[in-house]
């Protein structure tokens, strides 16, 4: 078998090759590119998936690896080196399987969504998908924060590329710009944090004894000293953690930087699936999981993560309640679900968070691909009030979509139930264990469960049940095979993937059936640090997150009941032949929700009303003082330049004269120094 590092390095390189093929062949000889590059992409992601599975199995057999692939900048002058490498541990092995798997299905689905619909710019589209996949895989395998940052940015760039696929229309173009700018705003903090990490620890490595989480731990224990710029280590690490979190909040669309994500629905639906399930948005929370050894040292940051997560889960869920477009509902559900993942990670539930990341990837990919199939059937009309009765017209999609919806709503035994419950249970135990803020986050998360059940099934009923409410819905035909197959595969997975970690049944089935937990705890020979067990110790010992024993079953029943209540309300209101809008019961809140709490308006106001005057003021200062100084300097140097170059008179004897004078001056300097005079 090939050497692990080589094989793993190939995981992102293969889709990258597909990207190059699509780009170059698509540019120079588009006719030679079968299916606009789709086949190359499918082949590449299939190879990546195979390699990822192989890496996964290797890690399972105890083959976790950390290796340096390339030294970009060697350590010189006692400073740090900048390197690129691969870190293959349970977390990254799991992530590459998810990413390449979802990406493969998205590629296949795109055959139906893009090719069969005769969309233009296919090479560009598939090149984007290839680069997107490649950068996300490379991000997942990154061995240090710098490398992660590079690919994090590349992921952001690719989502700009793909969201703006139909760039000739104003909507996608502006949505792409918005996504790019909002996430970039967050990334700015990440960049500052990265520089801070390098400056503090002299390394940005994730794993190993010389990694920065390990150094931070040692520094807190007083066993190592790092350059904290005169600040107390705990405070400084909190600052760094919060800075890095800025990037996470932007990418994972957490409050208050979530506004780009609903707009991003302007992109092709398969892209939305990829962005939401496995790449762009997942990158944020994945970074938190990757840096868990660092975050576990800083209780403040953990609490912030939990609070942001809980609040976002609730906040986004309320907005999803009233949306008319199917993809908008899904968009807000994504924000909400990533809120749960953040809640899980923030309350110290590493396994729970990663678990929800896994299940969410499955069912959200499913829901988007299903929605994509619906949208194609509806000829790109996304208004749910014009759908209805699609159950009979596209049964495969319906059943798969239903599976995904049950998972999203958290109904036993579908995937989302297990993972969401694991998150909530963990937050509850920690919250009761003396962390009131985490408890608050838990309560918000719990309320959001009801909302989730409601909006999910409102969507299902409005789309698939009842009578068709438009001509298009009446004439809708079944989806094509290359759309049905990925949806069906994911439908099955959404039903069963939760069984890898049946947390609420811990008491019943025994520890050995908690596959994911065992997996993440897994033995890591030669790699100190990134195991769930180690993280748990850190959370308890360093961050001081103690737990109170609460039966997982009780917690599970509570959330299930809440979820069912939401579903039940949706059932009574919308599972009727002629559903009507019930949003009036919300009163004035309805308008508020329709307008997403006026956040866009608020942010626009923030930009035009606050930042712009401020910028104007700064501009005045800039134009008068700073520019004055800069222009002064530059005009001085230009005048000086004009004078100085006159020294070069063109007459060679003046050169020799000045040369001799210069020599005499040098001689005088040296002889003065030498003590001749």
């Amino acid at each position: 078998m090939a050497d692990v590092t080589t094989a793993v390095t190939a995981i992102p390189l293969v889709p990258f090759a597909a990207f190059l093929v699509a780009l170059l062949v698509g540019h120079y000889k588009p006719a030679a590119l079968p299916k606009g590059g789709a086949l190359a992409g499918i082949a590449a992601t299939a190879v990546s998936l195979a390699l990822s599975v192989w890496a996964f199995l290797t890690v399972g057999a105890g083959g976790a690896t950390l290796s340096r692939v390339w030294t970009w900048v060697p350590a010189a002058n006692d400073s740090f080196a900048l390197t690129f490498g691969v870190l293959v541990d349970p977390l990254s092995a799991l992530m590459v399987v998810i990413v390449s798997g979802v990406s493969l299905l998205v590629h296949v689905f795109s055959l139906g969504y893009m090719n069969d619909e005769g969309e233009g710019g296919l090479p560009r589209y598939y090149a984007g998908l290839g680069l997107f996949t490649a950068s996300m895989l490379a991000f997942a395998l990154a061995s240090n924060l710098l490398q992660a940052f590079v690919f994090f940015e590349l992921v952001g760039f690719c989502s700009w590329w793909l969201i703006g696929h139909w760039f000739r229309e104003p909507g996608p173009a502006s949505a792409a710009k918005k996504a790019f700018l909002v996430t970039r705003f967050g990334d700015y903090f990440l960049l500052v944090g990265l520089v801070g990490v390098l400056g503090t620890f002299g390394t940005a490595a994730f794993a190993g004894d010389a990694s920065f989480p390990a150094l931070a731990h040692a520094a807190l224990e007083g066993e190592a000293s790092v350059n904290t710029f005169g600040v107390d280590p705990a405070t400084w690490f909190t600052t760094l953690g919060l800075l890095i979190l800025g990037g996470v909040i932007g990418k994972s669309a957490q409050f208050p930087l979530q506004t780009w994500l609903p707009d991003a629905m302007e992109g092709p639906t398969p892209v939305s699936a990829l962005i939401h399930a496995a790449t762009m948005v997942a990158a944020g929370v994945y970074l938190v999981a990757r840096l868990y050894g660092f975050y576990a040292l800083t209780p403040t940051v953990l609490t912030v993560i939990a609070l942001v997560g809980g609040f976002t889960a609730l906040f986004a869920a309320t907005m999803a309640l009233v949306k008319r477009e199917i993809k908008q509902v899904l968009a807000y559900s994504t924000i909400s679900q990533y809120g749960y993942i953040m809640l899980g990670l923030g309350s110290g539930g590493y396994v729970a968070g990663v678990f929800h990341l896994l299940t969410h990837a499955t069912f959200k990919a499913l829901l988007f691909l299903g929605a994509g199939a619906v949208i194609i059937a509806m000829h790109h009309d996304e208004d749910m009030w014009k759908m209805g009765g699609l159950k009979e017209r596209m049964p495969t999609v319906y059943w798969a979509f239903l599976s995904g919806s049950l998972a999203l709503a958290g109904i036993v035994p579908f995937a989302g139930f297990w993972s969401k419950d694991a998150v909530l249970h963990h937050a509850l135990t920690v919250g009761l264990g003396g962390q009131p803020l985490v408890l608050l986050a838990y309560l918000m998360g719990l309320v959001a469960v009801a909302f989730t059940g409601f909006y999910t099934f409102r969507m299902v009923f409005l789309t698939f049940h009842g009578e068709p409410r438009s001509e298009t819905a009446r004439d809708a035909g079944p989806a094509s095979a290359n759309m049905r197959v990925p949806v069906a595969i994911l439908g099955v997975l959404a039903a069963v993937v939760g069984l890898v970690n049946v947390d609420p049944l811990k008491g019943v089935v025994g520890e050995h059936l908690l596959f994911l937990e065992r997996w993440l705890n897994g033995p890591l020979p030669g790699l100190a640090g990134p195991t769930a067990e180690h993280y748990h110790e850190l959370v308890v010992d360093v961050a001081g997150f103690h737990t109170v024993a609460v039966s997982p079953t009780v917690s599970a029943v509570v959330s299930l009941v809440v979820a069912l209540a939401g579903v039940a309300l949706a059932w009574t209101w919308y599972n009727v032949p002629e559903p009507s809008e019930k949003t009036d019961v919300l009163g004035p809140t309805k308008t508020l929700l329709y307008n997403n709490y006026y956040q866009d308006e608020f942010q626009t106001w923030l930009a035009t009303g606050v930042v712009e005057p401020l910028a104007d003021a700064v501009d005045v200062f800039d134009a008068s003082v700073v520019d004055g100084v800069v222009n002064g300097v530059s005009s001085t140097s230009l005048v000086a330049s004009d004078r100085l170059r006159r020294v070069q008179t063109g007459v060679v004897t003046t050169y020799t004269t000045q040369l001799v004078l210069g020599l005499v001056v040098l001689l005088l300097i040296v002889l003065l120094l030498g003590g001749w005079f």
Partner: protein, 100 residues
């Protein structure tokens, strides 16, 4: 035996005369002669020091200097000829088309 200092002062005087010629004369050939004078000032030091230290290396260096001087004149006269062809003069201050 004349002390080395005398030779040094003598050669310094030669060198300075050479420098004066370099700075003051505009005729390219006189310029070359002045440079020769500077080189020969160095030769005086080489030979005198060689005698002073009782080593032969300085004398050998002076031979190299002479050879170099000849080569330099060879190239130099060639360049002066090229300049003459273009500027119809061998005044080294004449070509000033490129400046500033």
């Amino acid at each position: 035996m004349v002390p080395l200092q005398y030779y040094l002062l003598f050669s310094a005087a030669m060198f300075c005369i050479g420098v004066f010629g370099v700075l003051a004369r505009r005729n390219a050939l006189v310029y070359l002669m002045s440079v020769e004078l500077m080189l020969n000032a160095a030769n005086v030091v080489f030979v005198a020091s060689s005698a002073h230290y009782g080593t032969i290396s300085g004398q050998v260096f002076s031979l190299f200097t002479m050879a170099l001087a000849a080569a330099e004149v060879a190239v130099g006269v060639g360049i002066v000829l090229v300049a003459y062809r273009n500027f119809k003069d061998i005044d080294i201050t004449n070509p000033t088309s490129m400046r500033w």
